[in-house]
């Protein structure tokens, strides 16, 4: 075996090194010194993130099972930024009494899922893809159950576990159809043969594959686990689930649908995807209106955001890919800001209802301000980054110039107004005060503040600093080999 091919996966190796360090510290550090572990992990991961930025290599490894391009590199960098913010955010939480002896596991499991996501993104063979998918899914069940003494946490974990296993089963079923049809699990082989194939078996296979990944993205109707799990899981895990896990799934989805099944696009899965997008955006929105629990609310809002992310897949060109990556980046900042505030408040006072946010402005103006920015960005109001990400993704979808897409984009646009309504409900709750706020004035921990500041700058600057988008477009163009099949 040619060991030099491992050099094509520098990100994965780097992550493994971080993982091993954390593991060693966890094992050999005296237990009483373990409060330094969260900070240590964050620092290590921060260094890794920075190094990662300089680790662009192109090439394939393991007989074409694994590919590294500029596009996959950028996707991993984006995920890293998100993971880093989550790590910083959760420092105080993982130093709490409750976490005393399980701190190490939390970080190990978390880093493992990141590793799985990396594999998903870079896989060019379904076997590796499935390994990545499972590595990214199963440790998450353990993370969801991390609040050992809380009933909801267990319930959420059980739900997550069952649904994840079930969706894996469906996904593998779809894959077995694919293998039966084409006799290979290499992306390139399948893509080559899928042209002009409109057999019913392919449709079923596709539907099952979409369902399998749709579970991770919580697309309607594969979303039902989302709200319960988000609500029950510890908040750092929820934000991780809603942002990182979802972002990685979106990247993988784009790769699989466009690169593998791109040729069958207009014939087979075009309408399937339309229906899923419309359902996801609309139902996510309508459910979100009525939520009073902030985590449930963010869960439904993230379902609807996933629908917008999918619009980038519709574009199916390098513009679509760039817009999708940009959308995920902005979504990371906005959603993590929202979760950061919700988390800080939950940590401090245990309050999770939107009603408890009434008059928050008076007691905690900075938190309210951050939350307001996050809501504005999620709602897509210029000049915040959320507007640009929506604008780019709509334009990239429109680029294909079919009438049906106009209707789709119109529905999505109307939904942005609906979403504005409920995002403003939160803003209204914070700034209106019929009675005194039930959350007392407090100072959030250093880590939480750093994370919030990073997110705030992200929300304001990613939209305005145009070179970020240009950078993504260049990266996407580098990955254009994957779009050859579509047009």
């Amino acid at each position: 075996m040619d060991y030099s091919q491992f050099l094509y996966m520098p990100q994965e190796l780097g992550l493994l090194i971080v993982f091993l360090f954390v593991f060693l510290f966890d094992t050999f550090l005296p237990k009483r010194n373990q409060t330094s572990l969260p900070v240590l992990t964050a620092v290590l991961f921060g260094i890794f993130t920075v190094c990662n930025y300089f680790m662009l290599v192109r090439g394939t490894a393991f007989s074409g099972m694994f590919e590294s391009t500029a596009a996959t590199y950028v996707m991993k960098v984006i995920l890293n930024i998100g993971v880093l913010i989550v790590l910083i955010q959760s420092i105080r939480w993982s130093n709490s009494e409750e976490m005393a002896i399980r701190r190490g596991e939390f970080y190990e499991l978390l880093l493992l899922t990141v590793f799985g996501m990396y594999l998903m993104i870079s896989a060019r063979h379904f076997l590796l893809f499935v390994i990545g998918l499972e590595t990214a899914s199963l440790p998450l069940a353990a993370l969801v159950a991390f609040h050992k003494k809380r009933y909801e946490s267990h319930e959420a974990a059980a739900k997550y576990m069952f649904t994840a296993v079930f969706s894996s089963a469906v996904f593998l079923m779809g894959l077995s159809f694919v293998y039966g049809l084409f006799g290979s699990l290499y992306f390139s082989d399948i893509a080559y043969q899928v042209v002009n194939n409109t057999s019913a078996v392919l449709v079923v296979a596709l539907a099952f594959v979409i369902a399998g990944i749709g579970f991770k993205l919580s697309l309607v109707p594969f979303h039902l686990w989302t709200a319960d799990v988000y609500q029950g899981a510890p908040t750092p895990v929820t934000s991780y689930l809603s942002v990182i896990s979802k972002g990685a799934a979106a990247f993988a989805f784009m790769v699989v649908l466009v690169q593998v099944f791109g040729a069958a696009y207009s014939k087979v899965w075009e309408w399937m995807l339309y229906a899923i997008i419309v359902l996801t955006i609309t139902l996510g929105n309508l459910f979100a209106i009525r939520q009073r629990n902030i985590k449930r609310f963010l869960a439904f809002s993230s379902i609807s955001q996933a629908g917008y992310i999918m619009l980038g897949v519709i574009g199916g060109n390098e513009l679509g890919l760039a817009s999708l990556m940009f959308y995920v980046l902005v979504y990371i900042f906005s959603n993590l800001a929202a979760f950061g505030v919700a988390f800080a408040i939950e940590q401090q006072s245990g309050k999770v209802s939107i009603d408890d946010y009434n008059g928050l402005y008076k007691t905690n103006p900075w938190l309210s301000f951050t939350m307001m920015l996050a809501m504005f960005s999620l709602a897509g109001i210029p000049p915040f980054a959320g507007f640009f990400s929506k604008f780019f993704i709509f334009t990239s979808a429109l680029e294909c110039g079919e009438t049906s897409i106009y209707v789709l984009v119109l529905i999505a646009l109307i939904n942005t107004i609906v979403s504005l309504y409920y995002y403003l409900l939160v803003v209204k709750a914070m700034f209106i005060s019929p009675d005194e706020c039930s959350v007392a004035r407090f100072r959030s921990s250093c880590g939480e503040r750093v994370a919030m500041i990073v997110c705030t700058f992200g929300i304001i600057l990613t939209g305005i600093v145009s070179c970020i988008y240009t950078f993504l477009v260049e990266a996407a163009q580098d990955g254009t080999t994957m779009f050859g099949m579509l047009n």
Binding site: E155, V204, L420
Partner: protein, 641 residues
């Protein structure tokens, strides 16, 4: 280019916003207010310098062959979206943007100054000044935009900052709900704007105003005669863009947010709801006027919407009892005048006089309406109420305010030599040129304007003398009266500006001739309106009540603003909530939460996971999941067959 210093009018306010926003709380209230005002003063000076250099200078190619040029004094590529679609940011100086520079900076500076007195002692004084700076920045950015995309971004930023300003009294539920309403209604309209921009840029491959308007015929024909639902797509695009403008400019039926927005601080109303933000729609249409001019269908829509709104809002204004609401409806009506004027301005008629008239009226109206709002603020400050019934006989207590208000009323009623007379007269000329129907229509509305404004005037300053008790109303402090005096003087002289020299649709000078038949008629009509108001409201009497009783139905309908808000309430709450949200909520509560609650009650033991499965919740999820996957496959297969 030398004029590039214009960009400072954007940089100073945005810097002040950041400064006051971040370190404002550490400063004393007075320092923050004075800093904000001084910064705005400097901005005003620069804005004046830029505008005057543009209008009167010759050394930088401002005028070529008697035609004023459109100068792009700053141009940067922000993003190359696709090869053809490049988004730029820049600063465009042309007659209308230079004029708007003057309007915005003047009114904004006056409001900054006035607020020193008016907002004295309010909580969050520093925050208020930060928001004012933000608003000024976004409004100036809007008018200086070189392309429609940049304009859209500032357009929304204006919306955000006005949302923050209207909701400034965040302790008042009414203020907060008003700010939300304003935000959502205008956002809804902006959706139209955005779609319009997307269509327009899709066909023309450009966002640039100059490229679009220099050859409108070519821009329109890029659509290649494509149609949608029987209209050409360009008509759709232009109409949708107008919808965005109609939202911001409070045209019927999107006007409902403006009266409620009066819950905000009064100086904010003077700035946002009289002089600047609400005319953004007029400005937008004027900016794209060459495109509208070749699309008769879009122009007709604009005319009809404008004319109807003018009448509707005037009718409502006649019976309101809250002085700020009267002013709000009067603003709607006056802006509708400007919109109509653009609608009737065909280039072939009288050198497109409607365009010039509209901009002229925008200019004068900004001055006298800001004056009226600031007076109203002083009055409210003195009597602590918005209701007319709490006022009366105030001319003895507040002489400066009285004179200023009277000047404002005379100006808006169109009595020479006050500013409103000249601009409104040009609008009427344009309307009569287009069609006598619109001419007569607008004349009637002008008469109503005179009537309701003097009704307001008499009810505040004459009528009766309510017992003010120990709390005698008194004149406002100097920081508040100075803006009144200044704007009052402007309202007297602004009409004599030879506006046609500066702003015309083809940017060639045009000499205004007063058409004395039209002018004479409009003076007579205005005098009739004023006379009627004098008879009915000068002294306390029961004529108004008798009239109201006689036309009970009409009066009640008008008082309730023809039930437009109720209609919206009905549609949003009854129909949308009942038919869509409620079933969904039921599903969520019964199926999702219901199973949760049930389980929470049952489960105490460690076997919860097993029970959970038996109870069906996860099974339900999985069941839906499978149904979804299979349905996706089956439906697609059916479609393929």
């Amino acid at each position: 280019m030398e004029l590039s210093y214009t960009v400072a009018v954007l940089i100073i306010p945005v810097f002040m916003f950041l400064f006051l926003g971040i370190v404002g709380v550490k400063l004393s209230k007075k320092t923050a207010g004075i800093l904000g005002t001084v910064a705005m003063g400097i901005t005003t000076v620069i804005a004046y310098a830029a505008a005057l250099t543009y209008f009167f200078g010759t050394d930088q190619g401002q005028v070529v062959d008697g035609v004023r040029q459109q100068l792009t004094v700053l141009d940067m590529t922000w993003l190359e979206f696709t090869k053809n679609l490049v988004i730029k940011i820049g600063v465009l100086l042309d007659p209308i943007s230079a004029m708007m520079l003057i309007v915005i900076s003047t009114v904004s500076f006056m409001v900054h100054l006035y607020s020193l007195g008016y907002m004295d002692g309010e909580r969050g004084f520093q925050r208020y000044y930060a928001f004012l700076s933000l608003f000024t920045f976004s409004m100036l950015g809007l008018v200086l935009a070189t392309n429609i995309f940049q304009m859209y971004i500032f357009w929304e930023l204006v919306g955000v900052s006005s949302y923050l300003l209207i909701g400034f009294y965040y302790t008042l539920p009414a203020a907060v709900s008003a700010s939300k309403k304003a935000f959502i209604v205008t956002r809804f309209a902006d959706l139209g704007f955005l779609i319009g921009i997307l269509i327009l840029s899709f066909y023309t491959d450009t966002f640039d105003f100059l490229t679009l308007t220099s050859d409108p015929q070519a821009a329109i024909s890029t659509a290649g005669g494509a149609t949608f639902l029987g209209c050409s797509v360009m008509t759709w695009a232009l109409t949708l863009i107008f919808v965005g403008g109609a939202g911001k400019s409070a045209m019927f039926p999107l006007h409902i947010w403006l009266p409620d927005a009066m819950e905000g601080p009064t100086p904010v109303s003077a700035l946002i709801h009289a002089a600047t933000m609400v005319v953004a729609g007029v400005y937008l249409v004027a900016r794209l006027f060459p495109l509208y001019a070749v699309d008769a269908a879009a122009l007709d829509i604009i005319t009809v919407v404008g004319a109807f709104t003018a009448l509707y809002a005037a009718a409502v204004a006649c019976v309101q009892s809250d002085i700020k609401r009267v002013l709000a409806f009067s603003t709607i009506s006056q802006i509708a005048f400007m919109i109509t004027s653009l609608g009737v301005a065909s280039p072939e008629l009288h050198h497109g006089v409607g365009y010039m008239a509209s901009m002229f009226h925008l200019f004068t109206h900004a001055m006298f309406k800001a004056l009226l709002f600031l007076c109203a603020g002083a009055i409210i400050h003195a009597v602590h109420s918005n209701e007319m019934s709490a006022m009366g006989g105030l001319r003895k207590y507040m002489p400066i305010c009285h004179i200023a208000f009277l000047i404002g009323c005379l100006a808006i009623a169109g009595i020479p030599p006050f500013a409103g007379f000249f601009s409104k007269d040009e609008i009427l000329v344009a309307a009569y040129n287009n069609s006598p129907v619109w001419g007569v229509w607008l004349s009637v509305v002008a008469g109503m304007t005179a009537f309701y404004m003097f009704r307001l005037y008499y009810k505040i300053f004459w009528w009766n003398n309510p017992d003010y008790g120990h709390h005698t109303p008194h004149e406002a402090p100097m920081t508040m009266t100075f803006p009144l005096i200044f704007l009052g003087l402007v309202s007297i002289v602004a009409g004599f500006i030879p506006f046609g020299e500066f702003v015309t649709w083809n940017r060639e000078p045009y000499e205004i001739h007063l058409d004395w038949t039209v002018a004479g008629t409009s003076i007579v009509i205005a005098l009739i309106g004023i006379g009627l108001a004098t008879v009915m409201y000068r002294k306390e009497n029961n004529i108004p009540e008798q009239l109201a009783n006689r036309f009970r139905g009409l009066w009640t309908a008008a008082y309730h603003r023809f039930y437009m808000d109720e209609l919206y309430q009905f549609i949003t709450h009854k129909i949308i909530f009942a038919c869509i949200s409620k079933p969904i909520a039921w599903f969520d509560r019964r199926i999702i939460d219901g199973t949760m609650d049930m389980l929470a009650n049952i489960t105490n033991s460690a076997s919860f996971a097993v029970r959970r499965m038996q109870s069906g919740s996860v099974q339900t999820y999985v069941w839906f999941y499978l149904i979804g996957a299979v349905a996706a496959a089956v439906i697609t297969i059916i479609c393929l067959i």
